[in-house]
């Protein structure tokens, strides 16, 4: 072969080799990526003439709020080597409302929800490290977008596992931090979390844990804005030292099922009053959950109850104690964190405590639809007064859910709920409004409406039609 031919062949081989190499590498990489997620679209219509904080002011006639939400979750799990996996969860979300009363009007976001690594140095051990939500088994979210490290170690032939976590949570961190503002003394919460998961036989599963939270996001630094002639203090003005102890159990035998749990919460917080002085408040609160049920052929019947004491001693405790949780789809209206209305007290209005109990039925209709029906009663843990009468009756709710699923891919669902407020709802609503420090014209009108309309116990309705497409 002539030399020129050899050069030509060598050039071609060299030119092709890197491309082939990249393609092979890409193919190997793709095999190690696990993609999953879903696209969900929901359309809401909520109707009320009873005051609902952040949604309905008071009116003599029924008002509507109509809006849609869009949510796309993308989970990308990359197995770098069998012992190390990198996981990210990216969400695209948006709310599109027709009314300025719509909850979170016309807002769209791309959110990196979780970015963390899971490392398994030996078979029994797992370390997760990065940005992820930390929640308690009962569904209470301890820290939403928090960075942390968690170590889990399996023992007793994997029938039990011990875990230990350290979390740094950034509560309302100042986005101008270091840019035009003084550096706050403390900018995060430190949370230490230790516990155990275990099984007894194959019937009982349990989990117990202890948590210490050192809430340090605060500062007393004085600031002076010479342009606007204003002065103040930086930070959210709150620090705390809180302890949590929890136990959750689940018993399953045959078609009978029992789930129960409790979280005890104690400690103290310092909150800053209107004069920028710190005041100490002790926290002593608790939460319980209970569900028992059985199934007969197509019918599942359960008795459910959940409740939280709140902290009746001081509304300024804010969210430093266990609130009745909405994270478990307990109801559509009174206790809900799945969109639509959530009457559940939060922040300054949840200190009176709330419980709910009732019956839940699940039935398969025409071998096509899954039907859920819930009948719930809600009451406050603290006795309230409404127009001179004692009351704890917050209200009653009926929820109906219908779902049609096509394979594991498509789900079309309709949820409808009706809540009938009672005296304690009117009373707590009025109390939450009494915290206004001054009266603007709007507030004054609200108070007038209170006189006219807050005695109203008109039914609150919520209807949601949704569609979810899952992929994996």
């Amino acid at each position: 072969m002539k030399r020129i031919h050899l050069f030509a062949v060598a050039f071609l081989v060299l030119a092709l080799l890197p491309g082939a190499g990249h393609a092979e590498m890409l193919s190997t990489l793709m095999e190690r990526i696990d993609l999953s997620g879903f696209l969900r679209l929901r359309s809401w219509s909520v109707i009320s003439r009873t005051h609902v904080p952040d949604a309905f002011d008071t009116r003599h006639t029924y008002k509507h709020i109509n809006y849609m939400d869009l949510f796309m979750r993308n989970r990308i799990y990359l197995t770098v080597i069998p012992e190390i996996q990198v996981r990210t969860v990216l969400d695209i979300s948006g709310n599109f409302g027709k009314s300025n009363l719509a909850i979170d009007n016309a807002d769209a976001n791309l959110i990196a929800r979780d970015v963390y690594a899971i490392i398994r140095p030996v078979k029994e051990a797992e370390i997760s490290l990065g940005l992820m939500p930390f929640s308690l088994p009962g569904g209470y979210i301890l820290a939403r977008d928090a960075t942390g490290i968690q170590y889990t170690h399996a023992i007793a032939n994997k029938k039990a596992a011990l875990f230990l976590a350290y979390i740094k949570a950034f509560d309302d961190a100042d986005d101008s931090f270091g840019q035009g503002s003084d550096v706050p003394d403390f900018i995060w919460d430190d949370i230490v979390f230790a516990g155990s998961r275990f099984s007894i036989g194959s019937v009982f599963r349990g989990e117990c844990y202890y948590i210490y939270e050192d809430d340090r996001f605060t500062t007393n630094k004085f600031t002076l804005d010479t342009t606007n002639f204003t002065a103040g203090l930086e930070g959210d003005g709150r620090k705390g030292s809180l302890h949590w102890v929890g136990f959750h159990g689940k018993v399953m035998t045959g078609n009978w099922y029992l789930r129960f749990g409790g979280i005890f919460n104690a400690g103290s917080i310092h909150w800053r009053n209107a004069l920028y002085a710190f005041r100490k408040t002790n926290i002593l609160a608790g939460l319980f959950e209970f569900e028992t049920g059985f199934s007969i052929d197509d019918l599942k019947l359960s008795a459910v109850a959940e409740g939280a004491t709140g902290d009746p001693n001081n509304p300024n405790a804010g969210r430093s104690f266990q609130d009745i949780k909405g994270a478990h789809d307990f109801s559509f209206i009174a206790v809900d964190s799945n969109g639509g209305l959530a009457l559940r007290g939060s922040g300054e209005s949840c200190w009176f405590g709330l419980y709910g109990c009732g019956l839940a039925f699940t039935y398969t209709l025409f071998d096509s639809f899954i039907m859920d029906l819930k009948l719930l009663h809600f009451g406050t843990m603290k006795v309230l007064y409404w127009r001179g009468k004692k009351t704890t009756w917050f209200g009653d709710e009926a929820d109906l859910g219908l779902e049609y699923r096509f394979r594991n891919i498509l789900s079309v669902f309709l949820n409808a709920g009706a809540f009938l407020p009672q005296r304690a709802y009117n009373a707590q609503d009025n109390m939450s409004r009494s915290y206004y420090g001054y009266l603007t014209e709007v507030h004054y009108n609200d108070l007038l409406h209170d006189i006219d309309n807050h005695g109203s116990r008109s039914m609150i309705f919520e209807i949601m039609l949704g569609l979810k497409i899952s992929y994996d």
């Binding site: 994997k158 029938k159 045959g254 994270a327 699940t362 994996d472």
Partner: protein, 274 residues
Amino acid sequence: MTPKKITAALLITLLAIAASQAADIRPGDVYRDIMQSKTLRVGISMDYPPLNFNAGEKGAEIEMARALGEFMGVQVRMVPLPVERYAAALEQREVDLVIAGFSRNLARARSVWFSEPYLSVTPAVLADNRSIPRTSYGSEFEQVSISTIWDLKRLTDFRFAVKKGSAYEELLKTEFPSMTRVPVASNDEGMDLLKNGAVNGFVHDSLFLEYLYSTSAKLRNSNILLAGGSRLEKICVGLPFGDTVLKQQVDTFIQEILRLGLIEQWLAKYSAKR
């Protein structure tokens, strides 16, 4: 017995073994028998929707077996077999090949040959809703989700029902050694145990469980389907060890039905049927 006689006996034995091995691996033997008898004996499963309904009444693999017979120009005789008999039936020449959701693995490959794969599935679990810890909180927040069988490793216990002799029984032994296994003889038995709460989940392949899940709202009501993950099971035609001619023909047939999209068509046709 003299040393000479012993040596002769050993030689005869070795030759006999060698001759029998040679008979097993002689290329074209099985293929020639099929063409001479004008009949292809296909081992099929007892019931494996959507691949096979009621021991050969209909299904994607039944269509595939008929199409293979048509390609070879012979009649097809279906022979229903329990899963633990697939390899033995091939070794003992009771069937010429097996089309029965037969997944390839090293243990089986010692005694039978496998064609090119015509389907990929993943191990899956149809699990009781109540036995899976909740990982989503509200409409946005979720902790490490449980969506595949591998995610169950994070639990301290789980009771699996699994078919005896299936590839998944071995998978549970090696990957979930500390968890409880309940071997069952049939799919119906596994599903009954799940329905009665005697087990937390029934393990099978993703194709079969997706079929059950998609055709029964009752199952969707009480259960969650955990499927996917990076480990794939390759479904192949089981072939007698050593017949290269038959293997070549079956491989060509599979490559062509994949190229023509016939597998997808047959699966789509039977995936919604009960």
